[in-house]
């Protein structure tokens, strides 16, 4: 199948993106976001349990706008749009530093689609948030490193062990869990409130999401909730992983662009030595370097999303490139955004830190640049 020249970014995709941008601009302006996630640094970082910041009304609107069901197939009640549209939405979530389980749910949707899990997809289309429980403590990219064991009990499966680095765990209605049964991988949908499931929240840097270890203590999963086993589970994960990289990379691009524009605005207005500081090339050139890095990443994100939509065999290569470029870009952009804001950029009152922390979180989620490039090099072996 051929790839469209315009990345498949047509009128529908643009409508989704523009509507999301407008909605978030109106409903989650910076002062609202600050009040929501950064009103109190003691609360954020010193509470016994880190609070979950979620605007329920905003989330309900997001569901109503069809964001959670965007990539869910039409047969399962979703909008059935491709990854290009999903990436465009994730980019807007990053631009607004949206504190919600949207991106986790978009990622889980991709795994569920690859596994053909119609019932779970219907739940997402119906407005439930989902999250992936796929990482062991090493957060390697080998799904076999999962620390959840699965054993059979009649037609059901029993899960024991812990999933680490589960995104938005306290906002998810259910988890998509990778477990191991001997040599086989098992992919299962497990309700967050199922008996035996407990959530042990992490204290994380990022203020716009929550993260946790999810402990499974003899959690019984009905046969109908076992989504795939063995080769089918491995294939579903291998097929969807490039999409996860692309979605997170898109979020990184959106957050990076916000940091770029905010830093450029500061450089246009902040005066020292009687001039806007953007006059000085020691400030101007790094800002241009921020832009150039973002643009490379953004082009690769849409190329990866388009490839995954139209000729998936080329998808992994581009998705790893996109995640590497977006992770490195975000790291550079975030650092420069703080530095070029000077003293104020180092304070809690300057909003830059909210985006910097989200970007830093996503930089490492599912593998940073170095990690992606190591996998990419394997593809150049042949």
């Amino acid at each position: 199948m051929a790839q469209p020249k315009d990345f498949g970014f047509g009128a529908d995709e643009q409508m989704v993106r523009d509507q999301a941008r407008r909605f978030l601009k109106d409903n989650l302006p910076v002062d609202r976001l600050r009040t929501l996630v950064a009103r109190d640094h003691h609360e954020a970082y010193e509470s016994d349990v880190q609070p979950v910041y979620q605007d329920e009304k905003l989330w309900a609107s997001a569901v109503e706008l069809g964001w959670t069901g965007l990539g869910v197939p039409v047969q399962a009640g979703g909008a059935g749009m491709g990854l290009v549209a999903v990436a465009a939405l994730a980019e807007e979530a990053g631009r607004a530093a949206l504190p919600s389980p949207l991106v986790s749910t978009l990622c889980a949707t991709e795994v569920l689609k690859a596994a053909g899990a119609a019932a779970a997809l219907e739940r997402i289309a119906g407005g439930q948030a989902a999250s992936l429980a796929i990482s062991g403590q090493a957060a390697s990219q080998e799904f076999a490193d999962t620390e959840v064991e699965a054993s059979d009990r009649g037609s059901a499966v029993v899960l024991s062990g812990t999933s680490y680095f589960v995104q938005d765990a306290r906002k998810a209605a259910f988890f998509v869990v990778v477990a191991r049964a001997g040599k086989d991988l098992v992919l299962a949908a497990v309700d967050a409130d199922a008996p035996g499931v407990s959530i042990d929240p992490d204290r994380i840097v990022d203020l716009t999401r929550d993260q946790a270890s999810v402990v499974f203590a003899n959690v019984e999963v009905a046969a109908s909730a076992v989504l795939a086993r063995g080769a089918a589970a491995e294939q579903a994960l291998a097929k969807s992983f490039p999409a996860l990289l692309t979605i997170v990379a898109a979020d990184l691009c959106g957050a990076s662009e916000w940091l770029l524009q905010t830093t450029a605005e500061y450089a246009r207005t902040r005066k020292q030595f009687d001039r806007p500081i953007g006059f000085f090339q020691a400030v101007k050139h790094p800002i241009v370097n921020m832009m150039v890095d973002i643009d490379r990443a953004r082009s690769l994100v849409y190329a990866a999303a388009c490839a995954i939509d139209s000729e998936p065999e080329g998808g992994e290569r581009l998705a790893r490139m996109a995640k590497a470029a977006a992770s490195d870009a975000a790291a550079f952009v975030a650092g420069r955004a703080i530095q070029l804001h000077g003293g104020i950029g180092f304070t809690w009152e300057c909003d830059v830190h909210i985006w910097v922390k989200r970007a830093q979180h996503n930089q490492f989620l599912y593998g940073d640049g170095t990690c992606q490039r190591a996998r990419l090099a394997e593809m150049f072996e042949a």
Partner: protein
């Protein structure tokens, strides 16, 4: 990467390009061809490359979108297809690179009907080679400081002055030249001319020697050179505006009259992978076994793919905020990528990076140390990359002008 979706007309033209290129690929020369047109030095190289451009022009792969009355082929939006296919086929590059990329679009925009009919056809067919006279010893990054005076004398102008870094002047019939017609106004005192070079009275072309030890570019001295007013491009005092048109094309921000061929960036990345796998290190290992080097090569691969995808994105209105944001990055990013590719190649070669062109033991014929030195030509030329960053910061991000 698989084919993107073309309209039926585009697909048909692409097929024509592919078929023609596969049937007409020139036999490899018996002498070394340099990596780019602006390094062409010998008469053998010139003749070989002019013949090739001439054939490509006749086949419709050059001047593709130019009107037929000016020697073009009258298509719309097909040049990029021809250029892509030439790049993909890995055929030699177009030698009249200044003509196609800068002079032709400038003449098309600012020239008179007579000028277009006279100068464009032999430019496209490589019967006449062009060079560019912008930089002077005192006008580099500050291009508007051009001093070469042109003084009116009836229907003629008398030109003096000194132009530098003039690629291809040693073969050129014509130069596009920025001159000073008034000292009263820095920008408004500039005018733009087509100036004869080959055999012209008062013109001296002298080779400059690059750090590579090669010639390939020149300085050009003008001593009372008489140029008829009919060779002026656009109005007196409009030289800066005309020069900005030229620079837009020179920096790759717009499609010229033809390009393509030569070694693509992707191919350079692949050749680095091959080089690393072929370069032996101690203990039975190769340079490719070194994770640090693999990482560096993959960074280059990502930058190369990123450039390609950004060129694609630049044509999708929904995915760009500012129409100049991506095009103005083209020259900056391409030149820095080429430089870094060569630098990593030297790291892969290790001690063998000391071996230059002409040494039998040099890996890849010693091309990488040569490419590394030559790469500075691209990061400096067409507005140094420091100036490119100023332009991007000022025009795209609205930062205060650094001057």
């Amino acid at each position: 990467m698989a084919e993107r979706v073309d309209t039926p007309e585009q697909a048909e033209f692409r097929e024509h390009c592919r078929r023609w290129l596969s049937e007409n690929r020139p036999a490899p020369p018996t002498f070394r061809l340099p990596l780019s047109a602006i390094e062409v030095m010998t008469e053998d190289q010139r003749r070989y490359l002019c013949d090739w451009q001439n054939k490509c022009h006749a086949a419709g792969l050059v001047g593709t979108d130019y009107p037929k009355e000016y020697g073009g082929h009258g298509y719309k939006g097909f040049q990029s297809i021809a250029s892509q296919e030439m790049g993909r086929a890995g055929v030699p590059y177009m030698v009249n690179v200044i003509g196609l990329g800068m002079a032709a679009p400038t003449i098309l925009v600012h020239g008179t009907e007579e000028q277009k009919r006279r100068y464009l056809p032999p430019l496209l067919s490589a019967d006449e080679i062009w060079c560019q006279g912008f930089s002077e010893p005192g006008a580099g990054s500050d291009l508007a400081n051009v001093q070469a005076p042109a003084v009116r004398d009836g229907d003629n102008w008398v030109i003096n002055g000194h132009k530098v870094w003039t690629s291809l002047a040693h073969f050129a019939s014509w130069m596009i030249m920025l001159v000073r017609t008034s000292t009263a106004d820095k920008y408004g005192g500039l005018s733009y001319f087509i100036v004869p070079i080959r055999g012209a009275k008062g013109v001296t072309v002298r080779p400059l020697i690059k750090i590579t030890g090669e010639t390939g570019f020149n300085e050009v001295l003008f001593e009372d050179v008489v140029v008829p007013d009919s060779l002026r491009l656009d109005e007196v005092g409009k030289g800066w505006t005309v020069a900005m048109t030229t620079l837009t094309y020179e920096r790759g921000a717009a499609e010229g009259a033809g390009s393509g061929g030569g070694v693509s960036l992707d191919e350079r990345v692949r050749s680095l992978v091959r080089l690393a796998k072929a370069t032996r290190r101690g203990g039975g290992k190769t340079a490719w076994d070194d994770a640090v080097l693999r990482d560096k090569i993959m960074k280059l691969a990502i930058r190369s793919e990123g450039l390609r995808q950004s060129a694609r994105r630049a044509r999708v209105p929904g995915l760009i905020e500012d129409p100049m944001r991506l095009p103005l990055q083209q020259k900056l990013l391409t030149s820095e990528l080429m430089q870094d590719l060569a630098a990593v190649a030297l790291e892969i070669e290790g001690a063998a990076a000391s071996l230059y062109v002409g040494d039998d033991r040099a890996p890849d014929g010693g091309q990488w140390p040569l490419a590394y030195l030559n790469s500075y030509g691209f990061t400096i030329a067409a507005g140094s990359n420091e100036i490119q960053r100023n332009i991007l910061g000022e025009r795209v991000l609205g930062l205060a002008k650094s001057k």
